[in-house]
Symmetry: C2
Subunit: 361 residues, 2 copies
């Protein structure tokens, strides 16, 4: 009986106390410890008071199971991989935080992967995650510009859920959870048009997340409201504060000049407010601005930003549910994976205002 105390190894020393240690201390076999500690509650050919003893010793020795060994045996890793489009985006930070919390509530940890962190083109993004053997992967934000990632993921052996991916888009390879962009745009536009606005511009970011859907919804709304689109009223810029600076100047030079702008994200909207201020354009008196997402700072702009609020908590909760769920959608409907769509809600603050009567026409 050669009981080597593995904890006394000099090199590595990466496992403090193993089942073997507990077993040795308790004078039982390692398998006994395993059975007791796993204790599938109910009909296990359980033990008597050895149980208590083993448990006490395990606690005393601060035993912690080694997840690598478990995973090696095929157990779930309880790991959720999150590929985030851009963690610097003020919208995604809180979203990831919410995701981490929702995941932990189900016992999962979150592994992070900023989509920009492709230091090596040869290293497919998926390698980092699939390699880690995550039980599931959550895509946060549109990854359309990473076709290889998408391709690798769809042929990989992991569940994938995409968030804010553009839920209406046909041919989605994964289940998606998102927001009803059309309804959000409708709320915002209704709000503006009911205030007399008809010259409404749109500022979005090209091929980013739900941006495209929002622009489409904007155009559809105009059509349904009988408003003829003005040439140049749609601007596409990077989804940054600086981005909207580039968008505002051309809009202000247009004639007729827009009386309102629908921004496809709060980042853009906040940039617009700032740019307007710098250019001496009064918000909302000369220009109404509506944002999208309702990030925390939307409440603190001057003036406070009217924005379409995103039910983040619900969205990430639904995503985790799908990600860790037992149901394997791939077996049911490969062509059209499930989509979950939540309804956004307009939060009206002070960046929008009905236009003055003389401005009509």
């Amino acid at each position: 009986m050669t009981v080597r105390r593995s904890s006394s190894r000099v090199t590595g020393e990466h496992q403090l106390v193993t089942m073997k240690d507990v077993a040795a201390a308790a004078g039982v076999a390692q398998s006994t410890v395993s059975r007791i500690l796993n204790d599938a509650p109910g009909r296990i050919p359980v033990s008597d008071k050895t149980r208590e003893r083993v448990r006490a010793i395990a606690r005393e020795l601060q035993y912690r199971p080694n997840p690598n060994a478990r995973a090696l045996r095929g157990a779930p890793t309880m790991l959720l991989g999150a590929v985030v489009r851009d963690l610097a985006d003020p919208f995604f930070g809180p979203a990831i935080g919410a995701l981490a919390i929702a995941a932990k509530e189900r016992g999962y940890s979150v592994m992070l992967c900023d989509a920009r962190a492709k230091t090596n083109e040869a290293l497919a993004l998926t390698a980092v995650l699939e390699e880690r053997q995550c039980d599931a992967i959550v895509l946060v934000g549109d990854m359309r510009d990473e076709p290889r990632l998408i391709e690798d993921l769809r042929r990989a052996n992991v569940r994938v859920v995409a968030l804010w991916y553009g839920s209406q888009r046909p041919g989605r390879p994964f289940p998606t959870v998102g927001v009803d962009n059309r309804a959000g745009v409708r709320c915002a536009m209704d709000h503006l048009t009911s205030g007399g606005h008809r010259r409404i511009a749109f500022v979005g970011a090209a091929s980013f997340g739900d941006m495209e859907e929002r622009r489409t919804a904007y155009e559809e709304y105009l059509a349904s409201a009988g408003i003829v689109p003005v040439n140049g009223y749609v601007r596409h810029v990077p989804n940054t504060i600086r981005g909207s600076e580039f968008a505002l100047s051309p809009l202000l030079r247009l004639s007729p000049r827009p009386t309102a702008i629908l921004a496809a994200s709060d980042t853009l909207a906040i940039g617009l407010i700032h740019a307007a201020s710098v250019r001496g354009v009064a918000v909302p008196d000369q220009l109404s601005i509506v944002g999208f997402d309702d990030i925390p700072f939307a409440a603190a702009t001057v003036p406070g930003l009217t924005s379409v609020k995103m039910p983040i908590a619900k969205i990430v909760a639904a995503a985790v549910e799908i990600a860790v769920g037992e149901v394997d959608w791939r077996s049911s409907d490969v062509e059209d994976p499930p989509r979950v769509v939540f309804q956004p809600k307009l939060i009206v603050r002070d960046s929008t205002k009905a236009i003055a009567p003389e401005a009509y026409g």
Copy 2:
């Protein structure tokens, strides 16, 4: 020779192609595959052209090493655990993104853990991370209010680095990387006093990150500048936008009313700007405001926020360096772990202004 194709297992199916598969396909032993694929470049009793063949087959079969098996053997997990105080904090989101990128550059992945995600008090935070066998853990933000976490971590067998932890604090249990808060406060205060301000208030959050150091530095500055502190000029509120609303009203009721406020974070500063606007107090004409951190939105407030800029990239890079570094500081100087302090820099925008001459005295 019972070569079971492990890839054909029905259950689990969590490992697509193993070394065994590659070995079988190449007609060599599995250990040979291991040697070839690991290929410590240089003096390995290497093979001839079997190497090429094995490599080709491995590539063809899309072989990916199983990190669990490697970790089980004592190899580093290449995992960095990040315990974040609050991912919803607009400062930490980008910081984590930068951390993920810096880590990936060294081949590490980041595991996330929002410090608020303690669904179960019995479940120590550290369990989640240490259990995962991270090679190192990065604490992002002050965790003083989690004594158990600190204690578990310091006796655990992982390297720990603390970021924005309050670098000057004595008795730090871990190496820290942070910013010279005293220098930052000095920059900000110099800027204000050189504009004639002497009635300068301070708004911070109690026991949060470097907040305490900033308040101390503020008080020291006043003393060294011969400015007598005014009762009620120091306010402690939650580090949120709403928080600063609670701070502003009492300050405005004071007499003499402060002409400037130093906020210990941009979140607070942005909240102050908004609150001032709501109360009809003009920034910077009636009230100058300086923030701390220079988050992206600081450039987009109205007026633009003067703020003390944090060299985030440098900080996270240094943290990763320490976290993955070969040097084990614990063996050298247990009592005073290394601290890395970077210099912040004041970014002057439009939320500060020299006070009008008649306001003197």
